[in-house]
Symmetry: C2
Subunit: 277 residues, 2 copies
DNA sequence: TGAATAGTGTCTGTGAGACAATATTAT
DNA sequence: ATAATATTGTCTCACAGACACTATTCA
């Protein structure tokens, strides 16, 4: 039989959370960037790779496996604040673009106890920040082979190559949401392969109707570089004229030029943050 | 100083969740539908309204205010399972379309303690289910006036009219995500006005590139009815030929006709769940 | 000079916006 | 007959895909 209360104050004074069982909650970040790899041919542009930041776990569970940066949220911070704190602590990255991605909540996703993960997608310009990264964190280049039912992903950070396979099934015939399932994974902790795939899909989708891509490049860039970024994220080649038409309204030409390659120099552009008049 | 462990088993045996402070977690559902209102003119179609399901709170906090159906998640169920359980318990609705919307986590959103809300967007065909609804739940027709900075929303269930105002600011210039802020609200519990707005935006957006709208109508429908559904969700009139072109690939003509209105009868269509060959 | 990227021109087909026109019913 | 919805036809404009062409640099 429940006690009767006559006011909210009275009720709140009596309320005791500890009587109820509660899950733990972490905030994890799927941080993406695009990295350039040096070229031996002086004429060619440096090849670009889509990459994700992973952290080596120092403690149990999943000790010595790679995982997304993340940690338990504190009672006096939001999950986004927790994400920013964790990024600063584990990787030394500050002021990154973050957007809430998904809350993962499978019952057995953590062997310790019931843990929910509020996962964020983050985007940064890797080149600005590379040297300041803490040693336990590492950027992995992503190669993803996709078919209708699965993703075969290879991650490479220069020293180590990781592979995993994630299956996908449409949740309902009327929607675009997938149920992801980890089919093969030996090197990544928790259900983080799912988070990586979700993040990749989110980014692929949003790159076409928002300007989030500009969080992944420097202030000045050539249209060729920008196009490369789109191409590695979308996983396909784009036609130059079409790309330039699409991007035209989002960028502003500057009077700077980029020279030095064995080819025609190119104009440096900036992101046009004002909406056109 | 932390104890050293030599295996995951050993670590897990020692792990004691209760040492750590944890938030509580609820699962809430922003359930939408489209309702028809009878017409006095025998010629005219019944007017359609976009509507949301609210529940009157029986207990503190926010006793007697309206809120989204929801409740605390249990340790042996996912948030989606919790959402389905709660919908069955509070409203007597089963087998509804659900999709995870957002996790709301402002620190003071619940006066009892720190409570996160994993919020789902749900879609149903109201007409099929109307009579079975529990009495504490009620459908409210939504009228929303929007400008660049705010939503002025009026909710009406026939007996009661509720108003609230939610402000919006773009989170980052590169994205489409808004920070919502409740500017005026006397009748709705928690931060649920934000969830309602988020759900409306999500639905508006996804209606154009998925088939989720078919969760909101019956098996057989006329194209005029379907167009009305799009119109109330998008909040604008559509041109008939354009609408028919867009929808053509998603529906199949049946040999049934709808007659009875003072006008040309119309063909009844079905959702085409197979992709075209 | 040649390989490579930068940048532009233009044709074509698709598809949305706009508006007009015809069809059919119940009162 | 008339008001209302159902359905189709068609013109135009915007834009993406495709391909060709020119421009410019440095070893």
């Amino acid at each position: 039989m429940e006690k009767e209360y006559n006011s909210e104050e009275e009720f709140l004074k009596d309320y005791d959370v500890s009587k109820y069982d509660r899950p733990s909650v972490t905030s994890d970040i799927c941080l993406f960037s695009v990295s350039s790899e040096g070229q031996n041919n002086y004429r060619k542009l440096s090849k670009k790779y889509f990459s994700v930041l992973l952290v080596k776990r120092k403690n149990y569970p999943f000790k010595d496996k790679w995982c997304l940066p993340g940690g338990f949220i504190r009672m006096n911070e939001t999950s986004e604040e927790a994400a920013r704190r964790v990024l600063a602590d584990e990787t030394n990255l500050h002021n990154v673009f973050l957007e809430q991605l998904y809350t993962f909540d499978s019952i057995d996703r953590d062997p310790r106890c019931r843990v929910l993960s509020i996962t964020y997608m983050g985007l940064v310009d890797k080149n600005k920040l590379d040297d300041s990264l803490f040693p336990n964190a590492s950027w992995f280049n992503i190669t993803s082979l996709e078919d209708d039912n699965s993703y075969h992903v290879t991650l490479d950070n220069g020293n180590e190559t990781i592979k995993f396979v994630v299956g996908k099934t449409l949740k309902e015939k009327t929607t675009d949401r997938f149920k992801f399932e980890v089919l093969d994974n030996k090197s990544i902790a928790f259900d983080h392969p799912k988070a990586i795939i979700s993040g990749m899909e989110r980014l692929k989708h949003k790159i076409s109707y928002t300007d989030i891509v500009f969080n992944m490049i420097g202030e000045y860039f050539t249209l060729g570089e920008l196009q490369q970024v789109y191409e590695v994220i979308l996983g396909k080649k784009l036609l130059d004229p079409a790309f330039r038409r699409i991007i035209a309204g989002k960028v502003v030409k500057t009077d700077k030029m980029q020279t030095g390659g064995g080819h025609r120099p190119s104009v440096l552009f900036k992101y046009k943050d004002e909406k056109e008049l």
